[in-house]
């Protein structure tokens, strides 16, 4: 996949930046919206060629690009995709036009700056998933902070300044540790090239420190249980598009970091710390569910449900077996689809009623039947109803988890029930309400634009739910390779994931004491 014609990834990364440069000189607001929509849609369409040309049989990086960037520091401009990052890149490109659609009417002030921020975000997000040089990765990772903080801080709700600062400080505080780890790795191998850093015989203590540095940074980004407090604030204050991007893409980066870096670079430490991370994941599932149940603000409810869902993702990753990791990847994609959609749904309510309070936004089903149908499907998807996407993901994760520890999974089961409880509670209130609902007879149902913003996500809810094979197919080889690098023998064969039997060898490997 090398050759002069293959600059697909560079085009995808710098396309949005070029579009932002054009947007900077467009004066009329409507033209700006159309331009951004056209640009992001075009990029989304173009990104599909990645899927067609992707070779699923290999774990090697594809669409590779390599150019010297800063020779004095041995930093290269290196890009590549494998089965782990492919779907995340596609998720990013596909969610962008929907973000633009969701902000069509919501954003009325400073439209140009808003669209530029969105496009810069897209550049940085795709860059994070494609970068194969650690410094390049870090640059994209951090470059996201400024536009995201601006999205929250300029276009956000009443407590936007607090939320933006909290988001920035938390993430930046975490990335400081990431930078230490990166430089420490560099001094060991004298390269920033990520594949060359994987599977090297680092000493045990070195691995532990690097793992912990990675862990703090990624756990904040996920966010995992004690590091999650920035998330509700950021989600609640962010404009709809900001919430969608946060939920769909930004939260994935922490989990992606675990999978891409922690497992293959520090395998010994990973196996040592696995029980602790699993515990935190279970706590996140239960805690997120319980807190979501107590919320009256719709956005907060969805935000805490994110904490629980991402608990499933980290649980699957640190199950350290093929089923678990593939399930985790699928949970990440599903969460991007479903929670993104739920944030758009909440945004639609807010645009009409200017409130997100569950008691004021109740009984909308009568006035907005189409909307209620959409909301219902996404809520069901969020609680992992069979036939929807989340069911497959969580099922795989739990199968992987059972292979590791049955008592732990028994603890997770209430989390699944909690998800049903808080989602159905929300659905019941929003769609039907009580006997004394506020008068919503003047409220209009969804317009074509809003249907267009939700429909693609609906398609994916059912597509992944009923026929996940096209999505899992591309992961097998890469996931297997990651597990091999982390010193765990993978489940036999590449078609294992849907055969949800607990693979015994993965079980023993994961339980093996370190060193």
């Amino acid at each position: 996949m090398t050759g002069p014609t293959h600059h697909v990834l560079s085009l995808l990364i710098f396309g949005p930046l070029a579009a932002a440069a054009v947007a900077a000189v467009i004066k009329r607001e409507n033209l700006l919206r159309w331009w951004t929509l056209a640009a992001t849609t075009l990029l989304a369409g173009y990104s599909l060629t990645l899927y067609w040309n992707f070779e699923p049989g290999t774990h090697l990086f594809q669409f590779k690009e390599d150019a010297r960037w800063i020779p004095a520091l041995h930093i290269h401009y290196r890009l590549g995709l494998d089965g782990i990052s492919l779907l995340l890149v596609l998720l990013t490109t596909l969610i962008m036009p929907l973000c633009v659609l969701a902000s069509w009417r919501y954003i009325q002030a400073r439209v140009r700056e808003f669209m530029i921020c969105l496009l810069i975000m897209e550049t940085a997000m795709i860059g994070v998933f494609c970068a194969l040089d650690f410094i390049l990765f870090f640059v994209f990772w951090e470059a996201m902070l400024i536009p995201m903080a601006l999205l929250i801080g300029v276009w956000g709700g009443p407590r936007r300044v607090y939320a933006a600062l909290k988001f920035f400080i938390y993430t930046m505080g975490g990335s400081v540790f990431l930078l230490v780890a990166i430089i420490a790795l560099y001094t060991q191998r004298h390269t920033f090239y990520i594949p060359d850093l994987m599977g090297q015989p680092y000493s045990g203590a070195f691995q532990y420190w690097v793992f912990l540095a990675f862990f703090i940074s990624f756990a904040i980004k996920v966010p995992m249980f004690p590091f999650h407090t920035w998330l509700p604030a950021a989600h609640v204050e962010a404009p709809t598009a900001g919430s969608v991007l946060l939920a769909s893409v930004l939260l994935k980066m922490g989990a992606y970091g675990f999978l891409r870096f922690s497992l293959p670079i520090t395998p010994e430490a990973t196996r040592f710390f696995t029980p602790y991370v699993l515990c935190l994941s279970v706590v996140a599932i239960l805690y997120g569910g319980l807190t979501a149940l107590a919320q009256t603000d719709l956005k907060k409810l969805v935000a805490y449900s994110s904490v629980a869902h991402m608990g499933f993702a980290t649980l699957g990753i640190f199950a350290l077996n093929q089923i678990g990791v593939e399930g985790a990847l699928l949970v990440m994609i599903n969460h991007g689809v479903t929670t993104g959609a739920l944030f758009i749904v909440v945004g639609i309510i807010y645009e009409r009623l200017h409130t997100r309070d569950l008691s004021l936004a109740s009984g909308l089903g009568k006035a907005m039947p189409v909307f209620a149908a959409f909301a219902g499907v996404f809520a069901l998807s969020s609680l992992a109803f069979p036939g929807t996407n989340s069911f497959i993901g969580e099922f795989l994760v739990m199968s992987g988890g059972f292979a590791v520890s049955k008592p732990m999974m028994v603890c997770v089961v209430p989390g699944v029930v909690l998800a049903a409880a808080y989602m159905l509670r929300m659905l019941q209130k929003v769609a039907y309400g009580g006997t004394h609902n506020p008068d919503h007879s003047q409220v209009k149902d969804l317009c074509g634009r809003e249907v267009l913003a939700l429909a693609p996500l609906l398609v994916f809810v059912f597509w992944i739910g009923l026929h996940p094979e096209p999505f899992t197919r591309v992961m097998h080889a890469s996931v297997q390779h990651v597990l091999e690098q982390s010193g765990v023998k993978s489940a036999t064969g590449t078609s294992a994931p849907l055969r949800a039997q607990a693979p015994g060898d993965a079980f023993t490997a994961a339980r093996k004491p370190p060193l």
């Binding site: 800063i70 004095a72 520091l73 870090f138 470059a143 601006l150 300029v154 400081v176 930078l179 001094t187």
Partner: protein, 489 residues
């Protein structure tokens, strides 16, 4: 010989000629406009001359003055920064009208001194150049409008000169040790003679005392006491100058001097590491509570001096070029902040951080400049502050200074908070009753130049870093008089 001497010395000559012309302009009736035009022309001519002489290699004045790639690159940087400072100072709103031409004259002399400083390889010329660059600044600090009831500019000028002279004294004392140990004032011959005794207490004390004078310029803790007061007391334009150019000069001289300490000098490395850590903690922690933007920049400047010192702790070429790269980047970042201060300030008074409120509505370009400058100072990619820190930390970790690297990163985490407070005011607050700010085209050009510079040095520093590292390597690889090479152990 005279012709080649002339070309090798051209940037300095241009600056001297400009200073002389300014001197005559300053005589008699105050002619501010002519002085300003003259100073700008001098700066452009200096850029041109420095660019033309980039390839010159020679020694002048009985080996007291070395023209090499190192000095020529830095001369170009100084000339460019001179032009930026002139654009920044605009019409010198806060300087008394009767001394404005003199202000330009002193500015030019100071830049000329700095330009000579980077070429000096003899202790005597070095001290002379150092004074030539410093004394005009002592005079420029008090040249501010007197506000009723406060004469803070006088107070800060006195502080500046007192500390400056004391630091110079200490430095001369240290130099006397070095001279006493080696019997020479020329750095190239000092180097081999110092090698046998480098680990003796006298040599370490001599070097350390010598560094004190430079640390004062760089505002390293505990030689920093003048910094916040001078920043606050001096006019905004003057503070911008004091904050930027002399620091680059100090780092350049440090690079020449630190090479005297052989690559393995644990005592010196520990000393430098302690100073670096102290500077970072002191500057960042005190900056957290500042309300005045200039004082905040003063304390952050102390912290950044600490970051730059990290490069010297490594005691190798990688570290020196990283420190140079970082300080050149710092020059751009801090100038970006000072542009905002100069333009936001009403009738030249100091700017409280609250006065930045709603800048993104009052002057979008200024707000972007401020955001770029402040985020770069905070070390956020893709700006130069990040790449600079990365190269510094890589160099330090290369030599095993893990603790220092962690301290530096903890500090950049602390620093984020106060930088964010600045951004919060400018971007997330409503302007209230604060008026919009109109920018003239030189200011717009300056803003775009600074943003472009900060981005370009951060995203594509390849060639600049290469030039710096080859120049440092050349300087250290080929010391005359058969000195042992420094690159190996």
């Amino acid at each position: 010989m005279p012709a080649s001497t002339l070309t090798a010395f051209l940037p300095e000559l241009v600056l001297l000629a400009g200073a002389l012309a300014l001197f005559t302009t300053a005589l008699g009736r105050s002619r501010v406009r002519q002085a300003r035009t003259l100073a700008l022309l001098t700066s452009f001519a200096a850029i041109l001359a420095a660019a033309l002489c980039l390839g010159q290699r020679t020694t002048l004045f009985n080996t007291a003055y070395c023209v090499d790639l190192f000095s020529q690159v830095l001369k170009l940087v100084f000339a460019c920064a001179f032009a930026l400072i002139l654009l920044l100072s605009g019409s010198l709103e806060d300087i008394r009208p009767d001394v404005k031409p003199e202000y330009y004259f002193f500015l030019t002399v100071s830049v000329c001194g700095l330009t000579m400083l980077v070429s000096c390889v003899d202790i005597i010329t070095l001290v002379v150049a150092l004074e030539a660059s410093a004394f005009p600044l002592y005079l420029m600090v008090p040249m501010r409008y007197e506000r009723p009831g406060q004469r803070s500019q006088m107070e800060s000028a006195v502080k500046y000169i007192m500390f400056g002279v004391a630091a110079n004294g200490i430095m001369l004392f240290g130099l006397s040790y070095l001279f006493g140990l080696t019997g020479t004032t020329s750095l190239p011959s000092l180097l081999p003679r110092l090698q046998p005794v480098i680990h003796s207490p006298a040599a370490i004390a001599g070097l350390a005392l010598t560094f004190c004078g430079l640390f004062y310029k760089l505002a390293v803790f505990p030689f920093h006491f003048w910094t916040p007061d001078v920043y606050q007391g001096a006019a905004n334009e003057t503070a911008g100058l004091v904050a930027s150019l002399p620091k680059l000069g100090a780092v350049a001289v440090l690079v020449r001097f630190v090479s005297l300490a052989s690559p393995d000098n644990p005592a010196l490395a520990v000393l430098l590491a302690i100073l670096a850590a102290g500077s970072m903690f002191y500057g960042n922690l005190i900056a957290l509570v500042q309300k005045d933007f200039k004082r905040l920049l003063g304390f952050s400047g102390i912290a950044h001096a600490g970051y730059a010192l990290i490069g010297f702790v490594a005691l190798d070429d990688l570290g020196y070029s990283a420190a140079l790269y970082y300080i050149v980047g710092y020059l751009l970042m801090v100038l970006a902040c000072f542009v905002v201060i100069c333009k936001v300030s009403r009738d030249g008074s100091n700017v409280a951080i609250e006065e930045l409120a709603g800048l993104h509505r009052r002057a979008p370009l200024l707000a972007v400049t401020l955001a770029v400058g402040v985020f770069a100072l905070a070390g956020v990619p893709p700006f130069v502050g990040f790449m600079g820190k990365l190269s510094l930390l890589t160099a330090a970790l290369h030599r095993g200074h893990l603790a220092l690297v962690i301290i530096a990163l903890v500090n950049s985490a602390i620093a984020i908070y106060y930088y964010l407070c600045v951004v919060r005011e400018a971007w997330f607050r409503d302007p209230g009753s604060l008026p919009p700010i109109r920018l003239n085209w030189p200011t717009r050009a300056l803003c775009i130049l600074l943003i472009g510079g900060i981005l370009a040095l951060g995203v594509a520093p390849g060639r600049f870093l290469d030039a710096l590292s080859t120049s440092v390597a050349q300087m250290h690889a080929a010391p005359p008089a058969g000195a042992p090479a420094l690159s190996g152990k």
